[in-house]
Structure formats: structure tokens, C-alpha cells
Assembly symmetry: C2
Homo-oligomer: 307 residues x 2
């Protein structure tokens, strides 16, 4: 029951109040994989330039991440540089250099075409559709996008929505896509446009899952120290999809739990720069954090009773 | 085990994208009482001018709200006028006329001095201290405040913190009081300054409770239609304190449940202008909404297991 991700493999330069990095491995496919691989093996489709530090990728392979779909192209790797505000609540993009990502045409190795669980990271929706064409019989397809595609390729994006199961986006994107500022109405809008479910990420406020059967909310894990929010959303998707793939259970109760694994992975992502925190997270720590979420939100309605 | 509230009794004029009101009953004491009285009788201490519409107060008396501590003074009632943004996420105060509230000196009727549960609504911290002096042996005292007092009467406020059990404030106030933008560090700061617990309300994102034993998060109830956010925080406090007073149970598990009652009452408050929604909420509807919170956040970690 393989899990496939297609997305960017980047070199990120990030400035936060706590320090900065230069050309650190990042991008949606790496954040997703670093998180998901704690739960289930991952197959990655992406592209890097000849300048990409291969040592970083080798370390990921050792964790069950199959990079057989990562092409090395002539040219420079995708680079992103951003600066966060003092409280990390907003960020400014200082530089984006697409490099080899500009000509990215995802091609799945034959072995990847049997993937049952697919995550289409934030790339051009035409390419996302192209990836779907190459997967034989996926059991669950989830997809991310961003404001740029919502504005510039809305029609293709709407076509894509009819072919996916879960849309996983943030609140700003949900509002822009639906044209509705109320997040629950925005979620309902998505459900009427194809997907069977929608996950809306709200950063430090957690995330919601809405489908025909339920509305579920998971908070963000309470952290007194946050170093770098970059990639938290992709790590969330990695936790969500990793749990779904390892259990193969699409029941509402298990999707709730997948949301909690997503939130756990998002919380790890922000505790260090880039994907570094995943270097030392093990499965026990993942399970401990999931239990932490239980302590955080559970309550017993039976108590006290009605007088 | 009586529940006492001291706070403002106002006439609010509110403009939202969905309509506007003029001189509608409001103020912290009324929002608190309208919510709390669904769970437990409430004693109110406050002041109104001779112009206050007594019919509104009579309707509250019929619901178990004892207005024996509401003084009628010569002069105009406290009036507040505000306008909300299109998505209700921010508001502008257009006018504040203190009227008789400017000279408010809370005096507890003898019967009120035996109160076991006390909520000090947002008034001058000197007056809040004065109320505490009049209560003989309270079992739990909770307190609200606002940025104005944090700036202008910080020393008195810090003195007050040493005499209360729970501080119930919003995230902006918590950040300003503690000088820390991280909400969890801000909560911890409060715990080192006297209170045994702190509730931080985050509007549409819910609320957290932190004490020495736990950190609990309750989301806001998912509403597709919100009409008027005014008073939601005081209704939250009313639900929290009402549940504590009716159960008399200060255990961590019951305080979690009190938070959920708080969130339920906050969600009712915003569904109509002013305190009107509480005219038709009954206890069954309250319990149904609390069950709704359970459906919203509960998950079972046992599912799927660790491979």
C-alpha cells in the first residue's frame, strides 16, 4: 500500500528572530516525506539541480524514503528565501528562483504507478493532473495548492478537484478559493466541487477536517518555543497521509486520528529550522505527542451531570 | 453555593454587516448572567441609570438572576457603540459614554456576601479588590480585565492577581499583561503572579486553560453564521463559572468540562445581537451543544495501532 508524493525539493534560506539558514533542504516533497516516513515508507517524485547536496537526500533514503522518482536536471535547484516577523505570524518572500523546477514534468517510475495513496504537493495543477494520469488505481488522493494557482489556473484547479479525494489547504487559500471568509462555509464549498473531504490548516490554531459525515478539529500542539514555521503544512499532510497509508483505514474515526498525526508532525516541523527536527524524532516520540493531544483536548461530558 | 458577578450593565449600539442595534441591553454582567443562569442562579452587582429599560431586567429575573445588587443611580446608563469589520474579526469603538458607571462603587447586599463563586467582570481593579473585601469566604474567584487597566493600573492589577484563583482574559490582554507574544509563555507568566489558573480566550479559535496540573484547549464552536461577537467572552466566563458553581467540583476534569460550557455559551452569544439568543436557549440545547463539542474534538488513539 505505497504512499507517493510529488512536490518541490528546494533549498530554503530562512530568516527568523532566532537565526537564519542558507540553502537548507526543504520544499513540499521533503517536508512531507520527512514526516510521513516516520509512519510509512514514501516514494518521492521531484526534480533537483546538479548543485543539490546529495548527502541530505541520502540521509532521507535511510529512513524509508524512495527517491527513485527524483530527477537530476541540468541547472540550478529551486531556491526560496523568506523572512518571518518577530512573532512568526507572517512572512515575506525575499527571493524565489525556480531553476530546474520551472521545467519540471513529473514522470513516475513504473514501480510508482501502483501507488495507493497519493499526495500532490503544491505545484501547477496541470502537472498534478498529469501525475494522476500516471497512477493506475489510487485508493486516496490528497492535494495541496496555493493562491498563485487559485488566481492563475482556476479552471484547471477546479477540474483537478473533481479527481481528488481530499483537498489539504490553509485558511487563506480556502477563503480565496471559495470566495467566502467563513471557514466552515468555505469548507462546504469545497465539498460541493468534487473532493469527499477537505482539511483546512490554520497554523498556530490547528486544523479542521470536514467531510459529509463529520467536522473534526485538532488544535496546534502548544509550543513555548517555535523556531521556523516553514514546511509545517506539508509535514501536517505527511502525518495525515502517512497514518492513512500505514493503517489503510478510511473510516471517519481513523481520519480523525490521521488529523492528530498531521498536527503532531506539524508541531515537530516548527521546532527546528527546515526538516532538521525529523532527524531525531522516533516513533515513540510521535506516539507520545499524539497522547499529548489527547490530554490537551479530551473531556468527559458525564461529569457533574445536569442538575 | 451562590454565584456572584460584578460588572457593567450597558446599553450597546452595535453595527455589523448583518444589521445594527441601538441601546440594546448588554455589558459584562448581563452577558455573564444570561449565560450562567442557564446552569446556576446568579447574583448581580452593578449600576444602571434612570433611563435603563427595566423590562429587560425583569425578564432576566424570571430566569434566576437576582438583581438585588443592581443600584439605580441618577444619570444616564453606560452606553457603548461599536462597529465590526466585514468578517467580524475586528471592531472599532465609535462611542463610550460612562454615565453612572463612572461613579460606580459596588456595594454587596448582605445576602450576597456569602457568595462562594465570584466573577469580577472587567471594571477598575481597585473596585474589583473592593468587591473581594466584601465577600466573606469565597471558594473560587475569577476575574477579567482589559488593556486599559493593564496600562493605567498595572500595580493594582498585579495586587489583585494575588487574591484571585482564575484570570479569564483574551489573548491580546494576555500578551500585553505578560509582555510575551507566545500565548503559552504568557499563560505561565500569569501563573507565577498569583492565580492558580488562567483562561485565555482566542475568539473564533477557542480558549485555553492552564494551571499547575494541565493545559486544556477547547475550540470555538463551528458556526456558519455569526451575527454579533459582542459579549462572547463574558458569556464564556458565565458558562465556565456557572458550571463550576452548579457542580461545586474543582477537579481538573471538571474544569475541562467548565471550559466546554464556557465555549458553548460563547457560541450562543454570537448567534444573535446582544443577549437575545439566551432568550430561547434551554438546558437541553446547552447539553446538545456540549455533546457537539465532543463530536468535534474527540479521537481514539487506540485505532490503527503502531505497526
Amino acid at each position: 500500500m505505497s504512499l507517493l508524493v510529488v512536490g518541490s525539493i528546494a533549498l530554503d534560506s530562512v530568516i527568523t528572530p532566532f537565526g537564519e539558514t542558507a540553502d537548507d533542504p526543504g520544499g513540499s516533497a521533503l517536508f512531507f516525506s520527512a514526516a510521513a516516513a516516520l509512519l510509512h515508507p514514501v516514494q518521492v517524485v521531484g526534480v533537483v539541480g546538479r548543485d543539490y547536496p546529495l548527502g541530505a537526500l541520502k540521509r532521507l533514503e535511510a529512513r524509508g524514503i524512495d527517491l527513485g522518482g527524483v530527477e537530476t536536471a541540468d541547472g540550478e535547484s529551486f531556491r526560496w528565501k523568506g523572512k518571518y516577523s518577530y512573532d512568526l505570524s507572517s512572512r515575506e518572500t525575499l527571493e524565489t528562483r525556480l531553476g530546474v523546477f520551472a521545467g519540471f514534468q513529473p514522470k513516475l517510475p513504473p514501480a510508482f504507478r501502483d501507488a495507493k495513496y497519493v499526495f500532490l504537493g503544491n505545484i501547477d495543477p496541470e502537472l498534478q493532473l498529469g501525475v494522476l494520469d500516471q497512477v493506475k488505481a489510487p485508493r486516496l488522493v490528497a492535494c495541496d495548492t496555493m493562491n498563485y494557482w487559485i488566481q492563475s489556473k482556476r479552471d484547471v484547479l477546479l477540474q483537478l478537484l473533481r479527481h481528488i479525494d481530499y483537498l489539504i489547504i490553509n485558511d487563506t487559500e480556502a477563503r480565496e478559493l471559495s470566495g467566502d471568509w467563513n471557514i466552515y462555509r468555505a469548507a462546504r464549498w469545497v465539498l460541493t466541487h468534487g473532493p469527499r473531504g477537505v482539511v483546512i490548516k490554520q497554523g498556530e490554531y490547528g486544523a479542521i477536517l470536514m467531510d459529509a459525515e463529520m467536522l473534526f478539529k485538532v488544535p496546534a500542539y502548544p509550543l513555548e518555543e517555535v523556531f521556523d514555521p516553514t514546511g509545517a503544512g506539508d509535514a501536517f499532510a505527511g502525518g495525515f497521509m502517512g497514518h492513512v497509508a500505514r493503517t489503510g483505514d478510511l473510516s471517519p474515526d481513523n481520519l480523525r486520528l490521521a488529523m492528530v498525526y498531521g498536527a503532531a508532525m506539524g508541531s515537530f516541523a516548527v521546532e527546528e529550522f527546515g526538516i532538521r527536527r525529523f532527524d531525531d524524532v522516533d516513533r515513540d516520540e510521535v506516539e507520545a505527542r499524539v497522547r499529548g493531544f489527547r490530554d490537551l483536548v479530551h473531556f468527559d461530558h458525564g461529569l457533574g451531570g445536569t442538575p
